[in-house]
């Protein structure tokens, strides 16, 4: 009975949503046709080439145009790690074993060991080239974190130093915030670019954008690893916690 009602309810909501979005249309220029409307995406696309010399427009938006959002986003990640720690916190004497109790086969362990460095390298590549190619700090960070996840799954006794994680995390965060504050130099604004932008499609281009994205990469990697580690260690050893 309840299921039927819920389905009816969802049908109503879904109908209205679908109606709206199908009305908007797919793949066409959906903005209201009016002289007053100048979609900001056009400005972004234009400025990213002309002013920032960043070829990946998404990156320039994420890090520069809407860099403030990204600062918040990074904070959300940081907070969720903190929240996780606070929610799952236990007094030390509750310590037991790690919740992943099986031991992986030797193929997995050996393979993981083999794969771990390339994964890290790939992650680093992705976030270093965030302003040139698809990808960036978040994506690279996630890749690196999967490397750690692999290791944690493969090795029962693999540990990551909490202190190291939190130092990396903090430094990355501080870098972001401090670079943002350095924008105030020369009468600029928060997060404003103060470095030379170079030429389009160069590795060293885009001013502060790559620097921030690298910091974001480190931060995301550290935080995701932290999340995984905390959850895996729920019930687990508190050696470093």
């Amino acid at each position: 009975m309840k299921k039927v009602l819920v389905i009816l309810l969802l049908a109503v909501v879904g109908f209205y949503l679908a109606d709206v979005f199908i009305g908007i249309g797919f793949g066409n220029d959906h903005f209201v046709k009016s002289d007053e409307i100048k979609p900001v995406k056009d400005i972004y696309l234009q400025q990213t080439v002309e002013n920032l010399k960043v070829s990946n427009a998404v990156t320039s938006i994420v890090v520069n145009f809407r860099g403030f959002d990204t600062l918040g986003e990074v904070t959300v990640l940081f907070l969720s790690v903190t929240a996780l720690g606070s929610i799952l916190y236990r007094k030390r004497h509750h310590a037991g074993d790690r919740s992943v109790l099986f031991s992986a086969s030797s193929i997995v362990t050996a393979g993981s060991k083999l794969l771990f460095p390339p994964i890290l390298l790939l992650g680093a590549y992705v976030f270093i080239h965030g302003h040139l190619s698809p990808g960036g700090g978040f994506q690279g960070g996630v890749i690196i974190a999967t490397g750690f996840l692999l290791m944690l799954l493969a090795y029962e006794n693999y540990t990551v130093s909490h202190n190291a994680l939190s130092i990396v995390e903090s430094f990355a965060g501080i870098t972001f915030a401090v670079i943002g504050l350095m924008g105030f130099m020369n009468g600029g604004t928060f997060l404003q670019n103060f470095l030379p932008v170079g030429t389009l499609n160069d590795l060293f281009s885009g001013g502060i954008i790559p620097i921030i994205y690298i910091a974001v990469g480190f931060k995301v990697a550290a935080e995701l690893t932290g999340v995984i580690y905390t959850v895996l260690n729920e019930k687990g050893d508190q050696k470093n916690g």
Partner: protein
Amino acid sequence: MDNTYYDLLTYVVYGSAILVMLIGLYAVLVKKSLLKIVIGLSIVDSGLNLLIVSLGYLKNGTAPIFSKGFFELAADKPMVDPLLQALVLTAIVIGFGVTAVALSLVIRLWRHHHTLYIDEIKNLKW
């Protein structure tokens, strides 16, 4: 590509994105296991992200990257909306954060109640 193709695609793309959201919502509203509810929330997020990304698509569009290849091969093609992609990036990260918190709460609830059956976890009411 002709317009009827795009009209059809509109239904398919938006319809499926919204369907994914509704499936997630169904899980949230009906499934009794906390874990399934969290999964449902995360499915809703995915559907939403699909929806947003597809909203930014343009006919014949290309990725919003001014790489050398773009200037050489596709300079005449419109670029899809980079802003929506950036927003989706943010939304994904935030969704991740919320899911992590929700899962950790599920762990906490399991510790206390030794059940994930939501009808049994209602000490706080009225």
